[in-house]
């Protein structure tokens, strides 16, 4: 079920939230579990079996790890990791591995043929070509974080299957995160005082949650989906569009993916907050970062911290010799790229970010000397603005690989964009992709969004408040009107659902 569907807004959310507050507290976990199943099964019902498998394995593994001592603890953890990664390998990476193996064998003159996963229909239960379960990487990583935390003795094993299932399936963040940690979400689910989930109705908290949801809807409907209507046709036919259109589409895509993903997150956080749950913050105005390392502290925080805690640090982090450190950074970012999807474009996207960081680490001392010698430090604001602009451009360049359907498309897009610099400006085709005037409206919306994002983001997160009742009412009305009148209402998918 999509957050931006009438089904969610008019039926699911009001019904589940209403029942949540009406039910006795000891029954609320069950309501949320049933609601989460309904939410997930609205996509492809059969996929709940995969989720059930992950939940079952990790529930048992958690208890087994807690009870075991010595090497058996590690064995149970490894079994859990193999099961989870195995699910990912089969359902997400099978075709990718197969395709690469086919190419590899063909290059040495051998024939290799194993059917593609999307040719399987599981005895007709699934439509052909639709085998990637929604949000698979998110809930697999969330479940994995539980067994790892139990193994590290940071978390007690959960002994109630239903509560553990709810931890993995909690509907607001089930399909696109934030990737929660048991220390946060599971402990909130367990904050029972013997009475089940305990939050009472609190109109201020509910209003805060709804306001955050509204901000999320604004980002999705007014910015992300409007940008998508311009970006998709251009990136869908890279060779059919001029370089300037590709430049504009790439700039708009940076905004689209941010608003799409952070919009989803705001709706998720808001929906959870209405019921009294505080989920992890996932974004902090990332395009205001002055370096790539800062960018990753502000972009998809739950994933970057997951990789930091469960991959980067176990690899040795920065407490190793320099070349290993750089290698660790590259490995983490390439794996992070692969996490997004079974395509070399994602690997290159991750690798580029890793390379940016390694370059910054290698050149850091040199730049510090240049900085000191040139006296640029006397203009901190200008330097900060320049760094923000450079960081944005680097991140946006990497988005080309993220957005392109193939490596060939990405390279063709870069070639055409580079060609634009050498040719006189002409009217870019992207202006005519939609009905007259719509490009201008989208650009206007984007500019307004860039201007209000820091303030509204802080308001949505509750980090600042309105000066008066009137200013709050006017800003709420403005957001609501923008969503209604300017938004795209086709209930389009969120980009990160596919991951």
């Amino acid at each position: 079920m999509l957050f931006n569907s009438a089904e969610f807004c008019l039926l699911f959310f009001p019904l589940v939230t209403g029942l949540y507050f009406l039910l006795p507290k000891s029954w609320r976990w069950l309501l949320l579990l049933i609601a989460s199943c309904w939410f997930y099964m609205a996509f492809v019902p059969l996929f709940i079996l995969i989720l059930a498998f992950t939940i079952g394995v990790d529930f048992v593994a958690g208890i087994a790890i807690e009870r075991a001592e010595g090497p058996r603890r590690k064995a149970y953890l490894i079994a859990s990791i193999i099961a989870n990664v195995g699910v990912l390998a089969v359902f997400k990476y099978w075709d990718f591995l197969n395709g690469n193996l086919t190419t590899l064998f063909a290059s040495i003159g051998l024939e290799y043929h194993v059917p593609k996963l999307n040719e399987w229909t599981f005895f007709g239960w699934l439509p052909a070509g639709m085998v990637l379960p929604i949000g698979l990487s998110f809930h697999t990583f969330q479940s994995l974080s539980y067994t790892i935390e139990v193994y590290r003795r940071h978390q007690k094993a959960e002994h109630r299957f239903g509560v553990f299932a709810l931890y993995v399936m909690f509907y607001p963040q089930l399909v696109a995160g934030p990737i929660e940690r048991p220390g946060n979400l599971l402990n909130q689910l367990n904050a029972a005082d013997g009475h089940g989930i305990r939050s009472d109705w609190d109109s201020a908290r509910v209003a805060h949650g709804l306001r955050q949801m509204l901000w999320g809807f604004f980002k999705k409907l007014v910015i992300a989906d409007r940008c998508a209507a311009l970006v998709d046709p251009v990136y869908g036919d890279v060779t059919g569009h001029d370089g300037l259109s590709l430049v504009l589409a790439t700039l708009l895509f940076a905004l689209q993916i941010y608003c799409d993903f952070s919009g989803y997150t705001d709706i998720a956080l808001g929906a959870a907050r209405v019921m009294g749950f505080e989920l992890m913050v996932n974004f902090r105005t990332p395009y205001r970062s002055a370096s790539i390392s800062e960018f990753w502290g502000r972009w998809h925080i739950s994933l970057s911290s997951w990789f930091r805690d469960y991959l980067y640090i176990p690899l040795g982090g920065n407490r190793v010799v320099k070349w290993r450190w750089y290698m660790n950074v590259l490995i983490v970012f390439m794996v992070s790229g692969l996490w997004h999807g079974p395509n070399w474009t994602f690997v290159i996207w991750g690798g580029l970010h890793g390379a940016y960081l390694v370059l910054a680490l290698v050149c850091g001392p040199f730049w510090a000397r240049v900085h000191a010698f040139s006296g640029l430090g006397r203009f901190p604001r200008s330097m900060h603005a320049l760094n923000v602009a450079i960081t944005f451009l680097l991140a946006d360049f990497a988005w080309i690989f993220f957005r392109a359907d193939s490596l060939d498309d990405a390279l063709a897009a870069i070639g055409r964009m580079a060609g634009t610099l050498a040719t006189p400006l002409a009217r870019p085709g992207i202006i005519d992709v939609q009905a007259p005037g719509q490009f201008a409206v989208t650009v206007l919306c984007a500019l307004v969004f860039l201007a209000i994002d820091p303030r509204y983001d802080a308001l949505a997160k509750g980090e600042r408040t309105h000066r008066s009742l009137w200013s709050e009412a006017v800003s709420l009305a403005a957001l609501l009107l923008a969503c209604l009148l300017v938004g795209h209402h086709g209930a389009s998918m969120f980009i990160y659902f596919q991951f």
Partner: protein
Amino acid sequence: MNGRRDTRPSKPLRAAAMAALLTGAVLAVIHNALPAFWGSPNVAMKWDALHRAPRPARLLVGSSRIYRQVIPSLMDSVIGDGEHTFNAGFAATFPPATYQLCERLLNGPGPLPAVVLVELSNYMLYEEANLADHRYWYYLGPREGVGLVRHALWLPGSSRGERLAYAARAARATSYSLLGLGLVDHVMGSASDADTLMALGSSGDGALTLEEQVRRVPGDTGLATQRKAFLADTLAAGRRATGIRRLYDRGPDTPVSPVHLGRLNALLDKARQRGVRLCFVLPPLWLDRGEDLLALAHALPDTAVIALCHPDTFPAFYRPDHMFDAGHLNDQGARLFTIALARALRGEPTGQDLPH
């Protein structure tokens, strides 16, 4: 302490209520400021043309079965009273949109046409796909919405689930309209959809037959495909005639929608008050819920209905060489239909000497 400011608005409910009021007020202002029929720019163009002098003596309102099948100049020459006719019908323009057009006209100032002919058609009960096209719901208001929901819940011959689904779609469509979903894009998109040829036809009288459109817009592949499919299905015309004959044979015992009948009677009353002769026209029917239309026609006063659809009385309208596709007449068929309609207006026999 983390130094964060108080995160809680002091009066959240009051702020929400004020925001809701402001939103409602802005939406009301916008709805009032929008021109008539803004969501169907070709209908809007017809509406504007209708208000230019000289005002037509006869006005036709309906869907493509009026727009494509009634030729005003031919009607004028058959009636021969020196007055002229305007065709305000347009493709996919169904009740309640057509009734709204009549109401606006009858409630408006200035001289009115002496005769208004309105296609008798079913309420457009929203198919799921139609909800994606604002043309089907942009004009709905609270009164229309309630009427549509009541009509949908009444529909006989449909299961409770179907009736509820229709009602839900009607309610959703009305909500979309009242909330102005995607209004900015719709307004801009509609403006670019306006087409003088499509709206006013080649003679400026509002009609454009399908064959005329094919001649004038040769690149229109949609119509060519429609035509090809009809020519390939040699039994289509016969099937339609048989289906409609069957509807007639069932008799007039199908229940009549009180909502729909009430709306039509209100229109007749209003027309009578303004001295306008208003008639409902039954062109060759669609089979879908055709029995409802026949029952409705039966429930209306005889003088208010012109039925030109019985396959035995009007076999000419079911001949493949008079049809463009399974649902519309071609040029020749439109000429015959216009003659029959003009004769009916003059109170003469209608179908007897039309070619069989």
